[in-house]
């Protein structure tokens, strides 16, 4: 049977799902956490606690005030020490709340029982409110505040909920393990999301390299109405929302538009789980599954880590040291993740994995002359011409960049991955893209 996939472009990097068999384990609590105020797209949350305040797990510590923002809750119980700037995955220091950990006391309103709660009596509007209250953001990596996605502008409706369980990035296995171990909860979460989006159809896209997850999720569907599991061809970037919608529904989102414009709401499967816990168990988003992996590591793992915990505690929990040959640390996946300067950065809502790469893997070969092989054009899932965009960005030709649709670039990295001459295509395209967007903003402000 031919598997569904998107029709244009894509590459197939080695999957390296080294941690696929590691069950999710809880990361032991540290002595101190640093919870950043900006763990989401949009304006940072405004802190609502003061130095010396006692907090429990789930206490609101920062409120999202603007339209696109999210609440932040304490992931530990203890005392607020101070506010300080802490290095995070962006390469710069950001404001965070430092809390010293004392015990593990949770807010009384949170239901900690492990039983599955199937029924949800809330109205769609109430569900969206709950998402906002509990600080739910997209856990696929983009961390877009979820409640905003469900607040549809008048005149726009959805007919399908798309659940992104693809996890197309190499090395990452957090979503995979979640599907194997929390199947029922995820499906209840999907049901709740269908109610909030007012749709009666949900499609869960899973890449074919996770046959056990496909099996487990499909078998569990018998109890649920309107949900389908669709296996997809293993092709990067299958998990990019535009490509996913194309693969599942054969609808193409026009340039500059959103999934809602083609009648879809897209969410990551981890977000579905978080929504289940938020709506059914009253639990805010304070922890997530993070994959710790790397070819040189003696052990790999999938940790359930609280936000604010330093990434290096994961190595300590496994009882291993950073391999001496490590040359690069990545937060996220190897195709779109960020290279970080140390492991002393806090886990945030958007941290899907931490990868340790050795010198040989991390080494970038010297860029040579472009030989116009055209492979970058063939693999671009958005139908762009990366070699041309690079030349334009290099020469600061930003108007031509804009007319060549540089803003359509989803920054998947397929072009740079394929380039025969090892040109850092995406680096230059990003420079062009951010400048074009900045110039467009300045134009609209005038």
């Amino acid at each position: 049977m031919k598997l569904k996939t998107f029709s244009m472009g894509g590459v197939h990097p080695p999957e390296n799902k080294l941690s696929a068999r590691e069950p999710i384990q809880a990361l032991p609590l540290p002595k101190e956490v640093a919870i950043p105020l900006s763990q989401h797209l949009g304006a940072p949350a405004k802190v609502v606690v003061n130095k010396g305040d006692a907090v429990k797990v789930g206490t609101l510590i920062a409120k999202g005030e603007s339209f696109i923002s999210a609440n932040i809750h304490s992931s530990v119980s203890g005392t607020v020490q101070k506010m300080d700037e802490v290095m995070d995955a962006s390469g710069y220091k950001k404001m965070a709340v430092i809390i010293s950990v004392e015990g593990d006391v949770w807010e009384e309103s949170i239901d900690r029982s492990p039983d599955l709660k199937r029924e949800c009596k809330l109205e769609p509007q109430q569900i969206v409110e709950k998402m906002k209250e509990m600080g739910i953001v997209g856990l696929g990596g983009a961390t877009f505040p979820t409640h905003v996605k469900y607040m549809m502008p008048p005149g726009k409706t959805a007919d399908t909920l798309v659940i992104n369980a693809v996890e197309c990035e190499p090395f990452l296995t957090a979503d995979h393990r979640l599907m194997l171990e929390r199947t029922q909860e995820i499906l209840v979460g999907v049901e709740i999301m269908m109610k909030a989006a007012k749709v009666d159809r949900a499609l869960i896209g899973i890449e074919a390299n996770k046959p056990d997850a496909i099996e487990v999720m499909s078998r569990a569907l018998t109890d649920f109405q309107g949900i389908e599991v669709i296996p997809l061809k293993v092709q990067y970037p299958q998990g990019a929302e535009k490509q996913l919608i194309k693969a599942l529904l054969n609808r193409e989102i026009p340039s500059g538009k959103l999934p809602l414009d083609v009648g879809c709401v897209v969410n990551n499967v981890g977000t579905a789980f978080a929504i289940y816990e938020a709506v059914q168990k009253n639990k805010p988003l304070i922890e997530r599954v993070v994959t710790l992996t790397g070819k040189n590591l003696a052990k790999t793992a999938n940790f359930l880590a609280r936000t604010g915990v330093m990434a290096n505690t994961m190595l300590t929990a496994l009882g291993i040291d950073m391999p001496a040959d490590t040359a690069k640390l990545i937060s996220g996946g190897p195709m779109m993740g960020k290279a970080i300067s140390s492991l002393t950065i806090p886990v945030t809502k958007g941290t899907s994995g931490i990868i340790l790469m050795d010198a040989k893997e991390a080494r970038r070969h010297k860029a040579q002359s472009c030989i116009r092989c055209g492979r970058c054009i063939t693999v671009c899932p958005m139908g762009l011409s990366p070699y041309f965009l690079k030349i334009l960005a290099d020469k600061d030709q930003f108007e031509v960049c804009e007319s060549e649709r540089i803003t359509d670039c989803i920054e998947c990295g397929s072009c740079a991955y394929t380039c025969l001459a090892t040109l850092p295509l995406l680096d230059h395209i990003r420079y062009g893209k951010t400048t074009v967007m900045r110039l467009a903003r300045e134009r609209s402000q005038k």
Partner: protein, 300 residues
Amino acid sequence: MSSVIIYSVVTMSVIAAFAAMILFFVAKKFRVDEDPRIDEVAALLPGANCGGCGYPGCRGMAEALVAAADQGDISSLLCPPGGLDTMSAIAGVLGFAAVTQESTIAVLRCQGSCEHAPSKLTYQGPQKCAVAHVVFAGENGCAYGCLGLGDCVSACKFDALSIDEKTGLPVVDPEKCVSCGACVKACPRHIFEMRPKGRKDRRVWISCMNKERGAVAKKNCAVACIACGKCAKTCPEKIQAITIENNLAYIDTKKCIACGMCVPVCPTGAILATFEPPKPKAKEVAAVQAETADNAAVKG
């Protein structure tokens, strides 16, 4: 004479006459009447089209000057490469008194050299400051300091900037700098500033942009400004040119008299001057060092 020659001459003459008539009519019909002063002023301008005046090329500046002259005031316009001589000549042509504006020079407000701010990471990617700035804080860890990849050098059309191999920082050649401001625009961290050249070429500036707390700043760079405030206290009461804001000191060019007394007083050496500063008395130095040590212990 052969008929071929006669016919050729006649035909060519007719064509030439026809073409001449067309040209004459077109030249008359599409003639653009320009103020002749624009040509005069444009002839006086350097012709480098650097854009330092803020107008599109020297022609644009000439048009702006003539327009301003009609308004009655050309003092707000300055051609930095041309300098005061050019502006005086132009003023003469347009019927104004000579313009007096202070000449400025580009100043780099960072000393994060390889020695003072050793690199802890390796950056791989396009050697462009604009790109590296997006990736991370910098190889030495200071998010405000110079990245050393030379966007300023590429932007300078007058060959006044070059990266010093030993320090990794850009160096301004005072002979060549014409204050066009291209480096100020090119630097993604706004480290360059146009400061007045100063009387007898004397100028003093805080060579640091770091807005982090002193202890944190010093972790990355040995000569960072730690906002101890000694310089502000040393600046004479009547002058008060130095302000401390956001953990960073700044010398106001309008007030600074370039006496240089703040330079030796700075415990980290973050203040630079283009001249030899006056040596403080030994007692003063000891007092400054003691007080700085106290402050560091308190702030922690």
